[in-house]
Each structure stands twice: as structure tokens, then as C-alpha cells.
Symmetry: C2
Subunit: 490 residues, 2 copies
């Protein structure tokens, strides 16, 4: 039962990724360019992610709300840098009515139903939200205002890949308003920490965090902080971002408040978000050539029980398996009892392996005799025979162990693919021979950054708090600088 | 502390509704025509609705998934009736890029970035989903397929009202595929029952259910079943619908399956949905001239504690109140302790009344002396002094009582505003003198239905299963018919 449907990573990593998405039934392409259908199994993982992250967001005193999908064109013109970074590639609604074609066989755009002002399908919601905030905020007593939105977003990307870059995606966007810049910065960093801890504790992903460069920051932000994850091919994936917006948007959307001294002023804003891109990070970090591997904490199915029987012992095996199922139910949620007919056990093993279910329990006639079950863990594919009296505790413990093992692998991946170099020659050699995070000193100028990018395809990923303290000469121009993390990004 | 900000119902019912939405901070209008901002308090109620309904949907074996926001124009041409009913008023994406204006001050549509085929922002997702279903379904073993989607929907409505009719709204749409028409019909009716029970058990809303007429049914359906609620002004609000789609869509999207006899055929489909419109039903059923009333089961804040103190007893009152708060926490979730400074108790009472919090607890120095608290229930505004030792059990019981009382009021509203008439003269007189549900016999022809609508503004709401058995002559043409429920609808 080999997974011939999945291209091995070493052969073609990009194809392997697409094969996993397809064979694990996470998503599929749609007739709409660059947009995908998120299939039930993929969506169930997303729901688990969403539920836990939503809880953590609310714990920080943030409230959910919902703002319009459409943004008036004029709103996007208001913040000059925001225009440059975002207004370009987006879906534009120009008409509001179809009419039947003359032959009555189809529909066409009714030219008379042209909008006076075109509407942009939100590529992000700063502008439409802050227009509302300007009405909601009057005094320091209204602050901090902390709002989050779960929504669909459209950006007309040229090259798309499921989850990683799609013309439509799902995300959460947090937007907060504060009395002081210090308080806003605390929020920016709190959000980064929340994402890093969520990645670590729930998705079993180790990440780097730090400030982004001028070129890589969000259009309209004073500073952007990023959470960067390492994929198995050594490339870097931007997992989430958090922006210090300063007073840039407050000024153009005229958000003003009376401060504690009775004076009118502009507040300080932040925004931060993660998206269905996280699903791509999940796949590319944990999976292997047999299929997806889902960390137990977000697995829609944590344990699957597969009975193995022939006609003569079918009833006996099914009854015994159902006992195990009932017994396990006490402690472990999300167990699947796969008693499908017409499908062989081997087919089932293969299917659940592809879908990355953390623990598989196999039960055959021999196991009944020995009062045991066979337990297979998805991360290592190790098999163990476990006495029936111990299976409950064993499985619960094993789920924790798998979660920990995936995180420790992710840590290892990050560490073993991070290199330090002292000069540009080493830097270029490193990127020619292998992918990974490279720690190197840089002066901070966009000129050097663009030159390095052009010559090596490497971009700055972020500057960690540690890197900030590590001074040295820029690998490109030799002027004084400090250490940044470079990488090839998704 | 009168609510001068809320127009009394008797004075102007429509304005009262808008005032409640505004003063309870449920939603506000946005710069995008007909689209609203759902504010945190309104969204928290929606989240509670969503959570409980999602649980009930999944209990019925339905899986969530996510499909593209955009639908290729050609898809909407495929099902002829669907085109006529839906394709008309919708948002159309024609371009995918903006460019800076020559003066660099704004953005404009880039005429070169015109889409080859226009995309329609989903007015409902039958077409885009069924295109996918045609790839997912091969054999009877893939059936039933039961998919649900939580999504935003856009319909370019001419006249809009918050929650009741907005150009963008949030909803869930269930879509199922079955081997037989019988099984599909069971699903259609199960969904209707689920909505009715949800309305009754969670939203405290009594409803009528039944089949819709040819004119009122969903475009593309064989039959539509509706859930109809009665508002306080005697008008009818369509709360949810469930459609028997027959094989109409299966044929045009070429969904085929091999049946148990090995033959290829078209399966039978259903779709069913409810939307943020439910929020409008909630407001208009339960609220009064003092503000919103939220049923305890979906209240974001079930109990609010308001301490009443002067400088000299502030600490004492706050300490005692916090004890009550801590004690109540054991049994009741979602309690707010309103210890805001700068705001008078009277202002607080008013605010929580407007927001419809089911139970308010007032605590002043006198209450400490008497070892009691004052409990005010929002539905009747009755006040009671409750001994501190009993407050926990009292409040828990009171929340149940309020939930029941709201439902019994809703039942009463429906019953007392339902009339039976025997002929057209009575029918017209009835609609001239009062709003309500009118039970009257009708032959079933669209001609009579349109004539009645034109002359009285009354439309058929639905035919209940009881009405089907009640035969009689059509009030319009006198031909044999059966009993239908007529009303003026929102």
C-alpha cells in the first residue's frame, strides 16, 4: 500500500505539497482563478484553529465585529502609502445588475447599472473600519478600542498556490486604538507573542519573530513585526504580522479623542492578522511522503479504529472493536470508528495516513485472543501492541507525545537550517548550496537590501530582539549595521 | 431616566426598530450603500446564535466547508429559473486592478485590467457548490452528501433596513445531495423542523412552517418550505427557508451517480438557510419601548451587577457587590460587573435596559444592611428584594423564567394576531383594520394570488400541514382550494 499518488519531497517539493492538499482532501482548485474550495476535512482543521485562536484573542480583551466586504474606491486613496501597497491588485465591482441576453439563453452586465463610485472587494479592512472608529471614539474613556474581524479577503495575486497564496482567503484581522504610542506598541508585541505561542502550543510550529524591514513592512504602517516559520525545504513562510500604524490612519480618517488633560489629539493604532496561510505552514512543516500529519490539538479526528476481519470472525472483531471505541470515548474526543464495508483495511490505513490522523488502532482476531490492540502513531509510523487494559491511558499519553514530538521536530528544523555568515561571499555560497535562515549583518538601507535580493533572491525576514543587539558591518556595503535574518520566502 | 432616544412603537414602529438597533448598539449604517457594520454587541449575539445553530447542523451529519465568493457569470445562466430569480440584482466584478491617477492623488480603475468573464459576488452558492459536487459524487456510496457553509452574501436590494434587508448579509447555507427524492424531502423537512425548534428553544420565537406558493418559492426550486415569524406590528417575517431542488440543478451541473443497481442517474438535492435577518426578528419580537430584550440563552451578558454608592460607602458597597459577583459566577456565565466610575447608576440602568440584558442586580448600602440585593428582570421590569443567601438559585431560575416568558409572549402574539376568514370581503376588511396572519382558502393559481396581492398587499406566507387538510373555495375565484396563511411580509 504505497502512496504512489504522492510525489516524494526529494523529487519535487512543490508537487508534493499539491499532492498532499489533494490526497488529504484539504482543498481543491475552483473555476474562479486563484480561488480554492476548502473541503470539509480542511475546513474542520481551520475551524479548530479558529476556535482556539478566537479564545486567545478574546482573552486579551478584544471584541469581534463585522464590517462591509466592499470599500468605496475613494477610501483607498486616503492613505498614500496604503494606496501604493494595496490598491493595485484587487477585485473591483463596477455594476450592480445583470440582464437577460436578447436570445434569452444567458445573462450579461446591464450597462445602465453602473455604480457612481466603484467598490473594491476588501484586500484588508483598515480603511472601512477606521471610518467607523472615527464615529465611535470621542474621549480617552472610549480607549483602548480593540476589535477583531473574521472575514474573507480578496487580493488579485498573479501566481497562486492553495492556502499559501490565493485570490480569496480567510483571515482574522485585529485592529486596536490606544491613547499612547507605548500602549499601542505593547499591543503590537502582545499580538506577535500570541501568534508565536499559538503556533508553538497548538500547531506545534516553532517560529522566529521580529521587526520587518522598510521594504517588507505593511503599506501604511510605521513598523511591521512578523512571525516567520521554517518549511521543510528550508524556505521561510510569513505566518502572521502585527503592525504599529502610528497615527498615519488616524490622521487621514480623522479619528480624534479628548485626552485626560482635556485636549484633542490623534490616537495610536495597531493591526495584526493571520490567515488560512497557516494551513499551508501546517502542511509543509509536519507532513511526510505518506501524506499529511495533523498535530493532535487541532486534529478533527484524533484516533481512528480500523477493524480487520474475515467473514467468519466479523461479528466478533466488530464487537471487540466497538468495546475499545466505547472505552476510549471516555477520555479522547474525536474518535472515528471506521466500520465501512466494501473497503479493505489496507485501503483504510492508507487513507487515514494520507489524512494525517495522529493515532490509528488496528484490531484483528489475533488481538482479541491476546487481549490487545495494535497502535500506530502517524508521526513516526511506529507500531506497538498494547494490552487492552492499558489502551485508554496509552492513547491519551501518546497524543501528547505526538504533539510534543512534532514541535521538537519543528524546532530542530528551524535550528538545523539556520546559519550565521560573516561576509557576502559566505552569504551567496550559503544560498547557492542550501535554503534556510541566514543570520547576517546589514546596514538597514533599502539599497543594499534590494541589491542582495536581486543577486541571491534572499530577502530580509525579520530582525529578532537578539539580532538587534548583535552589531557588525553590512555584508553588502560594509557600513555599520546589525544582525538580520535573511531567507527565501514563500 | 426615560428613554427619549427611543421612539415609542405606537408612534412610529419603523423608527422604533431603527432606534433599538442604534441604542442597543447592534449595528450602524456604513458608507457602502445598504451594507451595515455589525457592532461588537450585535455580533456577540450573532456569535451565540451561530454557535448553537452550528452544533445542531453538525448533529444532523452535515459538514462545514468553504466555497469561492465569486461565481463566473456563465454559471448563473445555467439554471433558467435561477437566472430569472437571482441573477438580476447583484454586485459584478469586472476589473482586477486599480492604478494611480495622473495627479498621483488617488486611484482609478485600470481599463486594461478587464476580466474576460465577469464575476458575480455570490447572491447564494448553489451554482458554485454544485459544480464542485459534480466532481465529488460518483456513486451512491458518496451519498448523502451534506455540506454547510457560513458566508457573506451580496444582493443589491433597492430598499434596505438593518438586519432585515441589507445589500450584504451573513448566513448559513446547507446543501445536500441524496439518492432518492424521498430522502431529499426528509432533509428538507428536517431542516424546517431544526429552524423551528431553534427559534422556539433558543430565540424564544414561535413560528409557523409550511410550503410556499409558486410565486413565493426560491428561483430554481421545485418547492420551498418556509418558517414564518410574527412581529409585534402584526407583519410576517420569513425567518428561514428550505428548498426541494428536485433534479433541476443536478441536470444542469451534470451531477450524476451510479445507483445501487449500477445505473447512472441524477441525484436529488436540497438547500436551506437562515441569515442575520434572524437578528431583526429577535429585535422586533421581544423588544419594548425601553429598548432591546435579549433571550437569556443567547444573551452576551445575562446578568449585570450595578453598585450604588456615595463616597462615604463606596468601598463597602463595592466589596459586597464583588462578593455577589464572585458567588454568582459559580452558576451563571456571562455576568458583567459594572463598576465604571464617572457614570451614574441611573445612566447604567438605562444603558443595560436599552441593551436588553435579562437580569439586573442593584446593590446599595441599604441592601448590605438587610443582607439582600435588588433584582430587576428586563422582560417585565419587575423588581424584587432577594436575600443574599438565595440570590444564586433565584437568578438561575429567573433566567429560565424569562426565557419561557418571552416564548409564551411570542406564542400569544402569534395566536392573537391570527384570524380566519371565509370570503374576500372579510379578507379585505381584515387587512384594512389590522395586520396579522389570515387563514383563508385559495385555489393555488398565481393569477388569484397576484390579484389578492395587488388589491390588499397581502401575500401567501405558507400552507401549514393543517391548512392542507382544510378544504374550501378560493376567496378570489371561488374554485375549490385549501387553506393558506396570508400576511404582509417584511
Amino acid at each position: 500500500m504505497l502512496n504512489r499518488e504522492i510525489t516524494p519531497r526529494k523529487k519535487d517539493y512543490a508537487q508534493w505539497y499539491l499532492d498532499i492538499i489533494k490526497r488529504a482532501e484539504l482543498a481543491e482548485t475552483s473555476p474562479v482563478r486563484g480561488a480554492m474550495v476548502i473541503k470539509p476535512y480542511g475546513y474542520a482543521i481551520w475551524e479548530n484553529i479558529q476556535k482556539e485562536l478566537d479564545r486567545r484573542i478574546k482573552e486579551r480583551g478584544v471584541q469581534n465585529a463585522y464590517f462591509p466586504l466592499f470599500i468605496p474606491k475613494s477610501f483607498l486613496s486616503k492613505e498614500a502609502d496604503h494606496v501604493k501597497g494595496f490598491a493595485k491588485e484587487c477585485a473591483i465591482v463596477t455594476h450592480y445588475r445583470l440582464r437577460e441576453t436578447k436570445d434569452g439563453q444567458g445573462v450579461e452586465v446591464d450597462p445602465e447599472a453602473k455604480l457612481e463610485e466603484e467598490l473594491i472587494v476588501r484586500p484588508t479592512s483598515e480603511t472601512i473600519m477606521y471610518d467607523a472608529f472615527s464615529r465611535w471614539i470621542e474621549s480617552w474613556r472610549d480607549l483602548p478600542l480593540k476589535i477583531n474581524q473574521w472575514a474573507n479577503i480578496v487580493r488579485w495575486e498573479r501566481r497562486t498556490r492553495p492556502f499559501l497564496r490565493t485570490s480569496e482567503f480567510l483571515w482574522q484581522e485585529g485592529h486596536t486604538v490606544h491613547e499612547t504610542h507605548g500602549e499601542a506598541m505593547e499591543e503590537v508585541l502582545d499580538a506577535v507573542e500570541m501568534y508565536q505561542r499559538f503556533a508553538r502550543e497548538i500547531l506545534a510550529l516553532e517560529t522566529l519573530t521580529g521587526k520587518k524591514s522598510e521594504l517588507e513592512k505593511f503599506a501604511g504602517a510605521v513598523d511591521t513585526y512578523g512571525v516567520e516559520a521554517m518549511m521543510q525545504d528550508g524556505k521561510s513562510l510569513q505566518f502572521g504580522t502585527s503592525h504599529d500604524l502610528g497615527q498615519n490612519f488616524a490622521k487621514v480618517f480623522n479619528i480624534q479623542f479628548t485626552n485626560r488633560d482635556g485636549k484633542l489629539g490623534y490616537p495610536w493604532q495597531t493591526s495584526w492578522g493571520v490567515s488560512t496561510r497557516m494551513m499551508g505552514a501546517l502542511v509543509m512543516s509536519h507532513s511526510d511522503d505518506n501524506g499529511l500529519i495533523v498535530p493532535p490539538k487541532i486534529a478533527p479526528i484524533k484516533v481512528v479504529i480500523v477493524p480487520i476481519y474475515k467473514d467468519e470472525n466479523k461479528n466478533e472483531v466488530l464487537e471487540y472493536s466497538r468495546d475499545v471505541y466505547g472505552n476510549l470515548l471516555e477520555g479522547v474526543k474525536s474518535i472515528e470508528f471506521d466500520d465501512r464495508e466494501f473497503v479493505s483495511p489496507g485501503y483504510k490505513f492508507n487513507e487515514w495516513e494520507k489524512k494525517g490522523v495522529p493515532v490509528r488502532i488496528e484490531i484483528g482476531p489475533e488481538d482479541i485472543q491476546n487481549k490487545q490492540v495494535v497502535v500506530v502513531r502517524r508521526d513516526t509510523l511506529e507500531k506497538d501492541k498494547i494490552s487492552i487494559s492499558k489502551v485508554n491511558a496509552y492513547v491519551q499519553n501518546l497524543l501528547d507525545e505526538i504533539q510534543e514530538n512534532l514541535l521538537s521536530r519543528s524546532k530542530q528544523l528551524l535550528i538545523s537550517n539556520t546559519y550565521s555568515v560573516g561576509n557576502y561571499k559566505e552569504f551567496k555560497e550559503s544560498f547557492l548550496s542550501r535554503r534556510g535562515f541566514i543570520r547576517a549583518c546589514w546596514c538597514g538601507s533599502s539599497e543594499c537590501e534590494e541589491k542582495i535580493k536581486e543577486e541571491t533572491k534572499a530577502t530580509t525576514r525579520c530582525q529578532t530582539s537578539e539580532g538587534l543587539k548583535h552589531l557588525g558591518n553590512c555584508i553588502s556595503c560594509g557600513k555599520p549595521g546589525s544582525e538580520w535574518v535573511f531567507g527565501i520566502s514563500y
